[in-house]
């Protein structure tokens, strides 16, 4: 079967899986999550949020606390050890075997399954071509660069045609430029393979680029599940809003459908109730407008040139300085008094956050 053939793996379901470690640390509160066949789900969150723990529970490297279940395609695999679950796992440190060369590493899972040498060689060659590491088959692991190692780790995990692909921060060990390049390749590869994939990362850009759905986690619990766009444009909480990208959090009274701010008024989309409200606005959703006639105004404190755009810090509009992203073409400097134009549809009310 060629690597691109439609074998989408299994559906995965975690039922009420919690995890308390032997030293008393509670890594995970009881969690339920369903992942469809062929779907790529990204577990995103800061370190210590439990995302790696879930991954290891799905893999079979950790057991959930009593009462938790892991199901592959409706079969209960909770008590199956990892060597019997047919998962493909890519570790953060890649965990390539230093006593074997690249080809032997990739073929190891096949060797364990008793696949004949000739067939093994053929499959290894397929994967080498798929991951773009031709010519490296006989190299030893310590002769490879970080990016090459990452590809070997992926090839090795995929070689056995796993039911689920599990990736634990596979790009974290690489430098920024390489990471971005490999992210694109990884995306292409995952789409081509189409296997159920669970991907753990703390990098929100990776999460948004690679996931069909993103599961944002915090302190052992799910903060929000949704598509990348849902999570970005409609965060469920302040935490999610601030973790997923830069966010301006504005807390003010809503009167007659607009937020009353020190620098003016911010009209909201229809149906906004009166009372205390917390709103989130992305920096790129705020535009600079002429001061006259603008419903909201402020003064530019600083301009930060980040290469692709300028990030302004504007004070006086809200009770805290606002981050505003403007294109490089617009000339603006510290001290300028500016008006701010914000599309009401881009203002997201965060439920239940008002103090």
């Amino acid at each position: 079967m060629s690597p691109g053939a439609p074998d989408h793996g299994v559906s995965v379901r975690i039922d009420s899986c919690a995890k308390t470690f032997a030293d008393g640390t509670r890594a995970l509160d009881p969690l339920t999550l369903g992942i469809a066949r062929g779907e790529t789900v990204v577990l995103l969150g800061p370190s210590g949020c439990g995302k790696t723990t879930i991954l290891r529970i799905i893999a079979g490297l950790e057991q959930p606390d009593r009462g938790g279940r892991v199901m592959f395609n409706d079969a209960d695999v909770t008590h199956l050890p990892i060597e019997r679950r047919n998962v493909g796992m890519v570790f953060q440190s890649y965990a390539l075997f230093p006593n074997m060369n690249v080809a032997d590493n990739i073929g190891y899972g096949l060797r364990i399954r008793g696949v004949a040498a000739a067939e093994r060689r053929a499959r290894v060659a397929e994967l080498v071509a798929l991951t773009g590491i031709e010519g490296l088959e006989h190299r030893r692991i310590d002769q490879l660069s970080g990016g090459q190692r990452q590809r070997v780790a992926l090839a090795r995990a995929v070689a056995v045609r796993p039911s689920v692909l599990l990736l634990d921060e596979p790009l974290t060990a690489l430098d920024a430029a390489l990471r971005e390049r490999l992210r694109g390749e990884l995306d292409r590869l995952l789409r081509m393979l189409g296997i159920t994939t669970i991907y753990v990362t703390h990098d929100q850009a990776e999460a948004m680029a690679l996931g069909d759905r993103v599961v944002v986690m915090r302190k052992g619990a799910i903060a929000q599940i949704g598509t990348p766009r849902e999570v970005y444009f409609a965060p469920a909480s302040r935490f999610v809003a601030e973790f997923i990208g830069a966010a301006n959090i504005v807390e003010a009274d809503c009167v007659a459908g607009a937020l009353v701010l020190p620098g003016g008024k911010l009209p909201l989309a229809n149906g906004a109730a009166n009372g205390r409200a917390v709103a989130m606005i992305r920096p790129e959703a705020i535009a600079i407008a002429p001061r006259e006639g603008a419903s909201l105004a402020g003064q530019v404190d600083s301009v930060s040139f980040t290469g692709d755009r300028q990030r302004l810090s504007v004070s006086g509009a809200a009770s805290r300085p606002l981050m505003v992203d403007v294109p490089n073409a617009i000339a603006v400097k510290a001290g300028d008094r500016v008006g701010l134009a914000i599309d009401p549809a881009a203002v997201r009310l965060l439920p239940g956050e008002a103090s």
Binding site: H79, L80, P81
Partner: protein, 274 residues
């Protein structure tokens, strides 16, 4: 739970039990004779066992026969400690700071006595200094052998602590504040090397107390150490006396071993002779 999962769990438990049994067997091999000898040293009659009664008579007898060997062992051990401290700690500092090929060569040479059998070193000393009869007949002759053998442990231990605490940077800091080399050595280097000096000291004393191969060749009937006395007693004394003597040795050595383990975790005593 599936049958497979059940079988896996039982397989793992079986492997654990087998490994535990094996390890216990090995531990028994090592400990049982030691325990036997400690017991034998304190029972009236070894062959009748504990039923024959517990007694300190054998230990008293050992004391009467061999007290001088015990005293001499301590004397040599602490003298070796003093010598290795005085010549070893400053040298460790010099080697660490200088670095380079010279340091490597010197370290290599002082570590050689660990590789060369004690017999050979003793022979070498006898051939070179055996003619100086006063020296030859005194305990100082044995001391030189012990110093040569324990020196690398002190030096390596101190160099290790220097490396671990980046003493070079501390030294540079003190120098930038105007301290002379001697002041720096006294105020900064030595205090920060204390753990290494302590570990090295424990090793020197323990190794010296237990040293046999060198000492057997170098000793005279008037300069016996405890291990030499032990060899005598194994050959000529009844089992209970030999055991009591061994018991005394254990009592001396165990606190030192415990102190070393507590201080350094693992890997404390390496390379000692048999």
């Amino acid at each position: 739970m599936t049958k497979l999962a059940l079988w896996t769990r039982w397989r793992d438990r079986l492997i654990f039990a087998a490994q535990l049994a094996f390890t216990l067997l090995v531990a028994a091999f090592l400990i049982v004779p030691a325990a036997l000898s400690m017991m034998a040293g304190a029972t009236v009659n070894y062959f009748r066992g504990i039923r024959s009664g517990v007694t300190l008579d054998w230990i008293v007898q050992v004391w009467g026969l061999y007290a001088d060997t015990i005293a001499r062992s301590f004397l040599i051990a602490f003298a070796a400690l003093a010598v290795t401290l005085i010549i070893g700690v400053p040298a460790a500092y010099a080697l660490y700071v200088r670095g380079g090929r010279l340091a490597r060569v010197v370290e290599e040479i002082i570590t050689l006595p660990l590789a060369i059998p004690g017999l050979a070193i003793a022979l070498a000393l006898l051939l070179s200094y055996g003619g100086f009869s006063d020296f030859r007949r005194s305990w100082l002759f044995i001391l030189t052998g012990h110093v040569i053998f324990t020196l690398p442990f002190m030096v390596r231990s101190v160099i290790a602590i220097f490396a671990a605490t980046d003493v070079k940077t501390l030294d540079e800091g003190a120098a930038s504040l105007g301290a002379s080399p001697w002041r720096r050595f006294r105020d900064v280097i030595v205090p920060n090397a204390r753990p290494g000096i302590l570990a090295g000291s424990l090793m020197v004393v323990t190794l010296s107390l237990g040293e046999f191969n060198l000492t057997w060749m170098l000793h005279t009937p008037l300069t016996k150490t405890l291990p030499v006395g032990l060899a005598d007693s194994y050959a000529s004394m009844r089992l209970e006396v030999a055991s009591a003597y061994t018991l005394v040795f254990f009592v001396m050595i165990i606190p030192l071993l415990i102190a070393m383990q507590m201080l350094a975790g693992w890997g404390a005593v390496q390379g000692s002779r048999r």
